[in-house]
């Protein structure tokens, strides 16, 4: 329990942010407690490993000269961006978009929410309209007698299919039989199939 209290101060000690009293107390504890001293050494090792030594900064003289040249250029031509400098208008997303479309870039969440509402409203309206039309049609069909809309079966005319003469394969209504249709292109196999079995 005693160690837990001091261990919470180890990171502050690493950060160099301990006050005088706390620093002295922790120092005394570390002299007496090898486990905490070990933990402090490991913390130091972990921190140092994350920030290993870097080579010295190189010569930045050339950059300094370039920047001074840039400064001079701006002084000579203020409109170039120096003397009354303005951050060059960095292109923002949607800057080129016309009118309301730029809203989708500036405030995407509300814009897309409104768009979704519009889509739902339009789809709902379309669906409701369709449903109403469907009800009307259905109602009319129920009240109208079926016979009124379709001719009686006995008044139906035979389909105007081309009649195939001969062969004795005609149906009682005069329509060509299946065998006649299949034998139309003078297929020997089909003809054989249409003949009675005892003639084969």
């Amino acid at each position: 329990m005693r160690c837990e209290r001091w261990r919470s101060l180890l990171i502050e000690r690493l950060a160099g942010e301990l006050s005088g009293g706390e620093a002295a107390g922790l120092e005394r504890h570390l002299e007496e407690c090898p486990a905490c001293a070990e933990e402090e050494a490991r913390l130091r090792l972990a921190v140092a490993a994350a920030a290993p030594p870097l080579p010295q900064t190189g010569d930045l003289g050339a950059m300094e000269s370039r920047l001074v040249g840039e400064m001079r250029r701006w002084k000579e031509a203020p409109e170039a961006g120096g003397a009354q400098p303005r951050e060059p208008a960095r292109a923002k997303r949607g800057d080129g978009a016309p009118g309301f479309l730029s809203l989708f870039f500036r405030a995407p969440i509300p814009s897309y929410a409104v768009l979704m509402l519009v889509i739902v409203a339009v789809a709902g309206g379309f669906w409701m309209g369709r449903a109403q039309r469907g009800e009307r049609t259905e109602g009319a069909a129920v009240t109208r007698p079926v016979r009124a809309s379709y001719p009686a079966a006995d008044t139906l005319e035979a389909p105007s299919r081309p009649r195939v003469s001969g062969g004795g394969g005609e149906t009682p209504h005069g329509a060509p039989s299946w065998a006649q249709f299949t034998s139309a292109p003078t297929d020997g196999i089909a003809q054989a199939a249409s003949q009675p079995a005892d003639t084969l």
Partner: protein
């Protein structure tokens, strides 16, 4: 026209004011004062010397452009570091998923003199120093110790990569640049308590992720430490 000698003693506020008026000498003094720590911070953040130099140039172009509108509010140092932090954030967001793992970083970060050293002197005028192991023993490095050190550094970089950008920035500003919590809070425009908790989180995460490596028996014996707990 101000003499450079006189300018060397000028405050950052005065220098920026004069830069805004177009004083080239003031800019030179300001650049020499702030470019090295900023370059170091950005090199640590990006892991690349070329990238860090590009970003330093971009930072000073921003400073040049903003200087005429400069108002004496807050610390100039915090302003400079804030520009650097924003550039680092932007770099992490757009350029790399794992900023600290570039080969150049590891080649460039070869330990000098084969010893653990503190992470370098704090920049001039900066309070405190970088927390790190003090070079207690100057034993010549063995191949095994170098390999082990490299493995620990890689694991540490990977662990830091898993922290959020803000935690990483706080860690670098504290562990590498030696800023106080108050200064970090001013740089990142966050409460001091937030800066502190982010640093604690990053260190705990490092300690946890490196447990297998730093808890290995004998690790401490080969790595320098403060010598007190040996």
């Amino acid at each position: 026209m101000h003499q450079p000698e006189e300018l060397h003693g000028a405050t950052d506020d005065d220098l920026v004011q004069r830069i805004g008026e177009g004083c080239e000498d003031s800019f030179r003094v300001f650049f020499q004062r702030w470019a090295p720590p900023l370059e170091r911070f950005l090199r640590r953040a990006t892991g690349s010397r070329e990238t860090s130099e590009d970003l330093v140039q971009e930072a000073f172009i921003r400073i040049l452009r903003a200087a005429p509108r400069f108002e004496r509010r807050g610390s100039v140092g915090a302003w400079v570091y804030r520009i650097g932090a924003n550039l680092a954030r932007s770099y992490w967001r757009h350029e790399l998923a794992s900023p600290l793992r570039s080969p150049e970083f590891w080649n460039g970060a070869a330990p000098q003199g084969g010893r653990w050293t503190p992470t370098g002197p704090a920049p001039a005028g900066r309070p405190g120093g970088a927390p790190g192991p003090s070079p207690g023993d100057a034993q010549p490095p063995t191949l095994e110790s170098l390999q082990q050190r490299r493995a620990i550094e890689r694991a540490a970089a990977a662990s830091l990569d898993r922290c959020s950008a803000d935690q990483r920035l706080v860690f670098l500003l504290k562990a590498d640049q030696g800023l106080t919590y108050e200064e970090i809070a001013a740089v990142l425009k966050c409460p001091v308590g937030t800066a502190k908790s982010r640093f604690h989180f990053a260190v705990r995460r490092l300690r946890q992720d490196l447990a297998d490596l730093v808890d290995r028996p004998g690790t401490r014996g080969r790595e320098p430490h403060d010598g007190r707990a040996s």
